[in-house]
């Protein structure tokens, strides 16, 4: 960990745009940061700020290990990974929800009828915990993307995935059966940075809190 800089891990992809907007509103330097840029590290010497650009799923890892002090990432990623980091603030954008979805023909099926069935998902931890908490035994099939394909091709009876508008589900003839939980973007923090860089983190936290309280940067 570099003591002179406050290092923030940013999620590339759909979260980047609203994140940069929020940082700008918070008075943070943002020159040159966009999806097109190939740079992976942005250093602002004068302000003592460093950003690292990560895949969303890697953000908690960088923060837990202290390579970044703070991270901005979706709650969906945080719950799936269960890393030892502080979750400081709900930034309220990037809304999505975890759902169990089934093929349209089965839209009236009851959750308990899914016992001993197969669920395809990118989020095996969330899926497993959900079914177990309901007392169900479901076989989890871990896939890396396009999970909607699994029921169509007959390797799963349902999927557990994140949806925001529900369009993708509809396009693939799936319907939402149960909502597992909501997810929005969060500010996370390394457990030691929170203590050793308190005087840098605290003011930023306050500004971000005020902005989100006002209704966010959207």
């Amino acid at each position: 960990m570099n003591q002179d800089y406050l290092t923030i891990a940013l999620s590339k992809g759909t979260l980047l745009k609203p994140t940069v907007k929020l940082l700008k509103e918070a008075g943070m330097p943002i020159t040159g940061i966009d999806e097109e840029s190939r740079a992976m590290v942005f250093t602002f010497e004068e302000e003592g700020i460093k950003y690292i650009m990560c895949r969303p799923t890697d953000v908690p890892t960088y923060v837990e290990q202290g390579a970044a002090d703070l991270g901005i990432v979706g709650k969906d990623v945080i719950v799936e990974q269960g890393k030892d980091v502080y979750e400081l603030l709900d930034l309220e954008y990037g809304y999505c929800r975890f759902v169990v979805a089934v093929p349209k023909e089965k839209e009236n099926i009851k959750l308990k009828e899914l016992n001993y069935k197969r669920a395809a998902t990118k989020f095996p931890v969330v899926a497993e915990n959900f079914f177990r908490s309901r007392g169900l035994q479901v076989e989890i099939i871990k896939l890396h993307g396009n999970v909607e394909l699994a029921p169509i091709m007959g390797i799963a009876d349902m999927i557990v995935d994140i949806v925001s508008t529900g369009r993708t589900l509809k396009e693939n003839n799936l319907v939402e059966l149960v909502k597992i939980m909501d997810s929005t973007t969060r500010l996370i923090c390394n457990r030691v940075s929170y203590r050793t860089k308190h005087e840098k983190i605290q003011p930023l936290l306050k500004v971000l809190k005020d902005i989100t309280k006002k209704g966010g940067s959207n």
Binding site: L88, V192, R195
Partner: protein, 383 residues
């Protein structure tokens, strides 16, 4: 293919790494001894019942196995419970306080990564049979001196009184279910969900605000003023007073520059009852030391005495310290007659030199060539 696997999360230490580790241990040992602490060794594994009596149910983190009589055994996950059992067995008739230290490998079934191994080394002290500000001050001062002694820069020791949180949680207005949920959210550091959950409860607004703020407050004594509900709860108030006294005492001990009050320090284990603390360096994303007061633990083994102590993570200290200087100089002694060569070696060793004997009976030329590539070696050839 030969099987070279080692179990996940374990590691071999090479000579340089061992050197570094030993140098740290030696400094700590000297320091602990100078405070009057005496070393003890306890078994590497204990009955599961003993571990659980002290540390509560932490089975997920334990390495468990069985003995042939059907008893369940656990590799020790830390040392304080073993020391408490030890004290209750062997120290019953001794004068208190007793000062003990240990240097031990401990085992936890965690997800391995940098600075988190399944077998790691702890060096620590326990001050048994003493309570109050003076005893707490000695232990915290010793923690500060330990980090200073081994050359950690810019470190901080965060202190808290666990009674503040426990008393607030036991405030009559919270049901068991609420308590459990709040404790879980604080332990998993999910402050977003915590404030939402508190918001949904029908309890005193000031209590809500105080519980929501506690995990993130960090600074000098003034932060306690922000916890307004403290004045409404007797236990929490007394614990906060205790924390203030310690803070003042540490000022008098001359180490206040390293001390921060941090009401978010709760420590994971069940047995803590009073002042707790953790040490951090900006160079590592994990804590370096942790400890605190555990006044009921010895009692669970039948010896009712207060106690406090801490443990340092030796592997983590080694990670952020620079290695010691290069290898030591040594003699390489060769020759044609074993008796003479051996005698010369012993002579030099008696004078305190490190001496390697050339067991391959090399010629003087071969030896000279060898030595040329090693700067720290002096050659002797006995004809």
């Amino acid at each position: 293919m030969k099987n070279k696997k080692i179990p996940k999360g374990l590691r071999d230490l090479l000579p340089e790494e061992v050197n570094k580790k030993r140098a740290i241990e030696e400094k700590l040992r000297k320091l602990f001894v100078s405070y009057g602490y005496k070393e003890v060794i306890t078994p590497t594994f204990e009955y599961l019942e003993v571990i659980e009596t002290g540390a509560g149910n932490i089975r997920e983190e334990l390495f468990l196995f069985m003995d042939r009589e059907g008893g369940i055994l656990s590799l020790r996950p830390e040392m304080t419970v073993s020391i408490a059992r030890f004290a209750a067995t062997h120290l019953e008739d001794e004068e208190f306080p007793q000062r003990l230290y240990y240097n031990a490998n401990v085992f936890r079934h965690v997800q391995p990564q940098l600075a988190r191994y399944r077998e790691f080394w702890q060096m620590g002290i326990e001050l048994l049979g003493a309570s109050g500000v003076w005893a707490d001050s000695e232990v915290i001062s010793l923690a500060v001196r330990a980090l200073r002694e081994i050359g950690i820069r810019d470190f901080k020791v965060s202190i808290n009184q666990i009674g503040i949180f426990n008393s607030l949680l036991n405030d009559g207005k919270l049901s068991d279910e609420h308590k459990e949920r709040i404790r879980y959210l604080i332990e998993s550091k999910d402050l977003v969900e915590l404030s939402r959950y508190l918001e949904s409860l029908e309890i005193d607004d000031e209590l809500k605000e105080t519980l929501a703020k506690m995990p993130v407050l960090h600074g000098g004594v003034e932060i306690l003023d922000k916890l307004s509900y403290l004045n409404k709860n007797k236990g929490a108030y007394a614990a906060a007073q205790d924390l203030l006294h310690i803070y003042e005492a540490l000022k008098a001990c001359g180490i206040i520059e390293h001390i921060v009050i941090d009401t978010g320090i709760l420590r994971g284990l069940d047995y803590y009852t009073g002042i707790v603390f953790e040490g951090y360096s900006p160079d590592l994303g994990y804590g370096l030391l942790g400890g605190g007061r555990y006044d009921n633990l010895l009692g669970k083994f039948g010896l009712d005495r207060p106690a406090t102590g801490f443990a340092l993570g030796v592997d983590r200290l080694a990670l952020i310290l620079d290695g010691e200087r290069g290898e030591e100089e040594f003699y390489l002694v060769g020759g044609s007659e074993l008796g003479k060569v051996m005698q010369k070696c012993e002579e030099l060793r008696a004078k305190g030199y490190i001496v390697e004997m050339d067991v391959d009976k090399r010629s003087p030329e071969e030896l000279r060539k060898m030595v040329e590539t090693r700067g720290n070696c002096r050659l002797l050839y006995i004809d």
